[in-house]
Symmetry: C2
Subunit: 259 residues, 2 copies
């Protein structure tokens, strides 16, 4: 079983939480891939560089300067610090973007109404499962920054949730895969204000009902839509929950399991 873990920005931004997470991630058994974000760190360094973020309908536009920024911050600063810290815990990590070993090729998002700039849309056909399997078989732990490339020499900015999902969908054709979305909440909540109201298990069949009765709404909707899509593609299990409870998420005693 390969475990693909996405860890979100709120952990990456916080030195202590990141150190705890790295220790926990290093300790989990079996083949594993870590996908990380880092938007807040990029924004802070962008501000130091005098870059003014450009948003269209709440989505950040990746112009040429922003592409340089995220390539520096995601693939350099954040990725290498995670890799060095994992190495210190005896975990033989290797930091990658989509360009490295051509693991994820993407298509620059076509300009329709909006030009999002250097943003890469990816699907499971762009994932080099053979290269990833080779690295995993060699005992390496890929640590993937949220960047892809277009195959013509240009890096592209791609959402980390999407990368985790597409990696899981592609690799599940050749091995069993479970996908963990680690974030700051304990799971999918019955009552968004009550962190103790975690729904332990949601089947793909349940999802429509929970959506229709309004239990699942807001930002959780696309997360669960993606989770259900991954299950339908053949991913064994998707787990949503607190990144710092990773072993409990994997053994089923915490978080929300989507099956």
């Amino acid at each position: 079983m390969l475990t693909v873990v996405k860890v979100g920005g709120n952990i990456i931004d916080d030195e202590k939480k990141l150190a705890s997470f790295i220790e926990i991630f290093a300790s989990i058994d079996g083949d594993k891939i870590l996908v990380h974000g880092g938007g807040k760190v990029a924004s802070a360094i962008g501000a130091q560089l005098g870059l003014v973020p450009d948003y269209i309908d709440g989505r950040r536009v990746t112009d040429a300067e922003t592409l340089k920024l995220v390539t520096m911050v995601y693939a350099g600063l954040i990725n290498k610090n995670i890799v060095a810290c994992l190495q210190a815990k005896g975990c033989n990590a290797i930091g990658l973007t989509g360009a490295d070993a051509n693991i994820i090729q993407a298509v620059k998002r076509p300009v329709k109404d909006v030009d999002y700039g250097f943003v890469g849309d990816v699907n499971e056909a762009g994932v080099a499962t053979k290269s990833l399997s080779m690295l995993l078989n060699a005992g390496l732990i890929p640590v993937v920054a949220p960047l892809t490339h277009d195959g013509n020499g240009t890096m592209l900015n791609t959402n980390a949730d999407t990368i985790a999902q597409e990696l899981a969908k592609a690799i599940c054709k050749v091995m069993d895969v479970q996908l963990v979305y680690g974030f700051e909440k304990d799971g999918v909540l019955k009552d968004a204000r009550d962190n103790n109201s975690v729904i332990n298990k949601i089947t793909v069949a349940d999802f429509d009902r929970l959506k229709n009765d309004g239990t699942i709404n807001g930002g959780m909707l696309p997360k669960l839509q993606n989770a259900c899509a991954a299950i339908e593609y053949g991913v064994s299990k998707v787990i949503i929950g607190n990144a710092l409870h990773l072993p409990e998420l994997i053994n089923g005693t915490a978080g929300t399991q989507i099956v």
Copy 2:
């Protein structure tokens, strides 16, 4: 035969020269590793970030902020752009620092008279030849940024010439290795003012004579000392010359061959 190529800052800094170099590097046959610098790009971005470089006796000190800067610029911006461009030329590049797959572990330089900060001293014992061989055997082309790690979670800044040399010295124990130092001049010159006075071949035995009669002096002395040390360690050939004449350097029709 594995070819380890170091490409210097004057190529990295110049978009057109870099594009030419990448095309040439992609075209050379056999196993290969590229080691790149990038100090000028780092200095420019450091200036944008308001970092004031600190030099002691002409050597830059790597304080905590400078370490962040070089990790971003070397491992992120420069490394990933080279990798993406090599991929576009059909060369299955994988960008690495010393932390990735633990390929180069270094020791933070001890503080004697001077504290150089987060600078890593490396020797061939710190090089993971097994991991590098595995990547090469899988058909991957390592592109190595001038960064190492200390094994305790900290990245370290290491000179690119040194990294190229230590990689060559370590890997030559398991396969034939030639080491190419690509820079802006055509080779070791008899007359430093005359780019047509390239010395085609220098043996380790010649070196003392050329040093004593003053033919080799200044900045070329440490380069050739390192080259001779590499030969004595078992590297087949060291070649010094114009990075943009890489095929001619390798086939012996340009540059200075140290044997």
